[in-house]
């Protein structure tokens, strides 16, 4: 059986990337960097937004091959909007995650993309789901992905607390992204953050020079 390729071995334009999502008391924070590179050598975009809105209160972050991820999210958006018309109610976050999972699992031989789906729904409140490369779907309170995530496992394990306030969670996510972008050469640019709660959606963009600085900078 072929080994799944890591982010850094993706051919074509890859989002060698850092993405994360974390639940807090009343909502979720979803974040990503903004760099797209080819072969890890050339930055093809400094300002790409990897946090895609798939429905009013549901967002997905993409990692892996940009082309695959865009194609999958486009299909997923369509499925979801049709589903929500049929059900006459906004879709559940797990429905969005399942749609992505079906697409990833059924096409696992052709695709090289992973997703973090996060959002808020009336039934279960704030949730975060991970759909990995082969199509596994699991729910976690906090999750990180992409090539830059390796460097912040320790930080996230140490600093994440369940039921933080919105401001604490935003600061945690910004710090985590800044640390990953500082160590991973294929992550960088600005930090895109989205805060989703029952009352709405808030976009925060932190430009590179406003990111938190740590001891050696």
């Amino acid at each position: 059986m072929e080994k799944r390729c890591t982010d850094s071995q993706v051919k074509g334009v890859s989002t060698g990337t850092t993405i994360l999502a974390a639940t807090f008391d009343g909502g979720v924070v979803i974040g990503s960097d903004s760099r797209a590179s080819i072969g890890g050598e050339y930055v093809s975009s400094k300002t790409i937004n990897k946090v895609i809105q798939v429905h009013d209160r549901i967002f997905s972050c993409i990692a892996g091959s940009l082309a695959d991820a865009q194609a999958v999210t486009k299909a997923a958006k369509f499925h979801l909007s049709f589903h929500s018309v049929q059900m006459e109610t906004p879709p559940l976050v797990i429905a969005a995650a399942s749609v992505l999972k079906e697409l990833c699992y059924k096409n696992k031989d052709e695709l090289q993309a992973g997703f973090i789906t996060a959002g808020w729904d009336r039934k279960n409140g704030p949730q975060v789901y991970v759909v990995s490369l082969g199509g596994m779907l699991i729910s976690q309170p906090v999750t990180i992905g992409g090539s830059g995530s390796t460097y912040i496992y320790g930080y996230v394990d140490a600093k994440y607390k369940p039921n933080m306030s919105k401001e604490e969670c935003l600061q945690f996510a910004t710090n985590a992204l800044a640390l990953a972008m500082g160590r991973d050469n294929v992550s960088g640019g600005v930090a895109h953050l989205v805060v989703v709660t029952e009352s709405g959606v808030e976009h925060v963009v932190v430009p590179g020079d406003k990111l938190p600085k740590f001891h050696d900078e």
Partner: protein, 188 residues
């Protein structure tokens, strides 16, 4: 596969896929390591001390191939001993580092703290965020233990117990922290 190839660990090289860390504070240094030695998927030693003395107050943290690392540490230990007899005083840390660098060929650089081994990737973010200048010895020891614990939780090739060595002008102190005494985090 029709042939009997025997267990993997008989043919795999023994590696100390590892987490090691060293940090300077005002007055000394603290070194730390995990204790797992693996050969392929097997753990062949779960209690190896990867902090090797090069001289009374100079230690070296090992990673990579267990055989090569141990051999280099022993060679440098011997050479440093001869060197210290020749200059009739304790050797400089810089001399020890240069001897290792000369054997291995690579980059020699002085830093306030350093992490290494397979488990280090997972804790770069943590050490970048948490390191502060001017910590005292106890804070450094706590920082090292926290870092090792986080790395051991995420890296399959790191685990076991944590060994800590603290060196200052008064002497060298070796400590072991057993698995169940290591700090735990929100998902444990």
């Amino acid at each position: 596969m029709l042939e009997e190839t025997g267990p993997e660990w008989l043919s795999e090289e023994v590696k100390t896929g590892t987490t090691i860390i060293a940090i300077e504070f005002n007055g000394g240094v603290v070194l730390g390591s995990d204790s797992r030695v693996s050969a392929g998927d097997s753990v062949v030693n779960r209690v190896m001390n990867k902090l090797s003395p090069l001289h009374d107050k100079i230690y070296c943290a090992l990673s990579g191939s267990a055989a090569d690392a141990q051999t280099i540490a022993e060679m440098v230990n011997y050479q440093l001993h001869v060197h210290s007899l020749e200059i009739d005083e304790d050797p400089q840390v810089r001399s020890a580092a240069t001897l290792v660098f000369a054997t291995l060929n690579g980059l020699l650089t002085r830093q306030p703290f350093a992490v290494g081994g397979s488990g280090s990737s997972y804790v770069y973010g943590f050490v970048d965020a948490e390191y502060r200048k001017g910590m005292n010895k106890e804070e450094c020891q706590q920082f090292v233990v926290n870092t090792l614990s986080l790395a051991m939780n995420r890296d399959g090739s790191s685990g076991g117990v944590a060994y800590i060595v603290s060196i200052d002008e008064h002497g060298t102190e070796e400590k072991v922290i057993l698995g169940n005494d290591l700090p735990t985090f929100f998902d444990q």
